[in-house]
């Protein structure tokens, strides 16, 4: 795996994800919270091809970036706080899930990326909500509503799955540049 190329593609995707969210996000006016995660399909795509250990570290780092670029509101303090962990662990679990079932998938099929991105985003969402909800049991310093948040993340997961379809067409020509190869094809 060409780590530099993957980081570059991930950087662009995260920027595009944040830039597009207000325009393509779904939801009522001023609260377009259901937006696709474009970085996750990249993690899923890399997880389909790359060695397990590299994938897990990459997922963790991608999750940390997601956490650092998404602050939480601190209740009453009119300030923000960055929780580094929920997104990172969520992405890690999503990557582990893909690693577990990648042997059964037709990796070149765009639908595989779409379905795995949807499931991965849903898993990452559940894990992140679970961690922050666990935290909310001890500290009430952040504005947090687990129910609506989980619904939003499930909506975003579906949107991520849909967005992964065109992304798979973008990733395919970049496969070589990112140093990703299908192990079965390589053996032949």
């Amino acid at each position: 795996m060409n780590l530099l190329a993957v980081i570059l593609v991930g950087y662009v995707l995260r920027g595009v994800e944040l830039g597009l969210a207000p325009t393509i996000g779904l939801g009522p006016t001023g609260a377009k919270d259901i937006a696709p995660a474009l970085l996750l399909p990249l993690v899923v795509y890399v997880a389909l091809f790359a060695p397990a250990q590299s994938v897990l570290w990459l997922a963790l780092c991608a999750g940390v970036v997601v956490d650092l670029t998404g602050p939480m509101t601190v209740r009453g303090a009119e300030a923000f706080c960055w929780l580094v962990g929920p997104g990172a662990v969520g992405y890690l679990v999503a990557a582990y899930f893909v690693l577990t079932i990648r042997g059964f998938m037709i990796k070149r099929n765009p639908l595989a990326l779409a379905v795995l991105s949807l499931l991965g985003a849903a898993l990452a969402g559940v894990v992140a909500v679970a961690i922050i909800t666990l935290r909310a049991q001890f500290f009430t310093d952040m504005a947090w509503r687990p129910g609506p948040e989980l619904l939003l993340r499930m909506g975003s997961a579906v949107y991520t799955g849909v967005a992964a379809l065109p992304l798979s067409l973008v990733f395919r020509p970049l496969t070589g540049m990112m140093g990703l190869q299908d192990s079965h094809l390589r053996r032949r």
Partner: protein, 318 residues
């Protein structure tokens, strides 16, 4: 045997990963006040991501035909409307200021402390760099920071009259974060009115016209962000009359900020327009207020900076 070695090696490789995960989980179980140092890394991440995020956001808004104004008026008509709205706001601010000055005179006479006024305030034109999800709400990242005199609490407007929100959190050297007025956490931070915003409706104010005595026609309302980009709340009653009758606020009325917990420079700025009204069983009227301009479509804001910059001011007043 070989497989056993492979498993052993894999186990060794995964130990740092497992430790990192445990550390991250423990990190996010810490109280928020112990995590302030993370904001430095977040600032770095933000700065790094802006060169991609900002052009994509602007291009997407332009492509979607959602350029800041989003109206269909001709440029001349739009400019005239804007000018009229600015004049009206200035007039109302002057009236409000006169009223405050009267109170200050009374306060001075009784030996009470003065509240800070509008002096020394700079208006900075700041491009919106992007938006961020912040827990239950959203924040705007704008290119105006500590170097230009922006401090936490400074009000942020669109076209100088529409209140977008206020600067919150740690202000970076070159950019700051704005909590949008419709954000769940945008109301007052403490006290009995926690989470609420005081607004006024001037009865008889229509597009381009004010009633002869606007200060007498003020009706107070106590608004709460609903979380869907709107504010809602009860119409409290006349602000400056002994009249006990219940005033009626019409759909389409303009709602302005009149909240002493906000800076003087934010008073009488436009919060939005009444979108719906209803009457409770106790005959009290409730209203739903929607901002006239959707913060998601805004590409440029004006920050009313109250601090002192290090680079000799900023963009200047529009």
């Amino acid at each position: 045997m070989l497989r056993g070695h492979a498993h052993l090696r894999q186990g060794h490789q995964r130990t740092p990963l497992a430790l990192t995960v445990v550390m991250l989980v423990l990190l996010c179980l810490l109280p928020a006040r112990w995590l302030t140092w993370v904001s430095w890394f977040a600032g770095l991440a933000d700065t790094a991501i802006i060169p991609v995020q900002a052009p994509v956001r602007n291009a997407a808004a332009w492509l979607a035909g959602r350029v800041s104004a989003g109206d269909v008026d001709s440029p001349e008509l739009a400019a005239a409307r804007e000018e009229a709205e600015r004049s009206r706001t200035l007039y109302l601010q002057t009236l409000e200021e006169v009223s405050v000055l009267r109170e200050q005179v009374e306060a001075l006479q009784s030996g009470r402390a003065l509240s800070p006024g509008l002096m020394g305030m700079a208006q900075l034109v700041a491009p919106v760099l992007g938006e961020q999800q912040a827990g239950a709400g959203r924040v705007l990242k704008v290119r105006a920071g500590r170097s230009q005199g922006v401090v936490a609490g400074d009000p942020v407007t669109f076209r100088g009259v529409h209140l977008v929100g206020r600067v919150v959190g740690d202000v970076d050297m070159h950019f700051s974060r704005v909590q949008v007025i419709t954000d769940k956490a945008a109301g007052s931070a403490a006290g009995p009115d926690r989470g609420r915003i005081n607004g006024v409706v001037i009865l008889g104010e229509t597009d381009g016209r004010l009633p002869p005595d606007p200060m007498a026609e003020r009706v107070q309302c106590l608004l709460t962000p609903t979380g869907d980009g709107r504010l809602s709340g009860d119409v409290a009653g006349w602000a400056a009359r002994a009249d006990r009758s219940q005033p009626r606020v019409e759909v389409g009325a303009i709602v302005r900020l009149s909240d002493e917990r906000w800076p003087a420079s934010a008073q009488m700025l436009v919060l939005g327009r009444v979108e719906r009204e209803d009457t409770k069983p106790n005959q009290r009227q409730t209203i739903v207020v929607a901002p006239i301009f959707d913060p998601a479509k805004i590409r440029e804001v004006i920050v009313r900076a109250s601090g002192e910059g290090t680079n000799g001011g900023g963009g200047g007043a529009p």
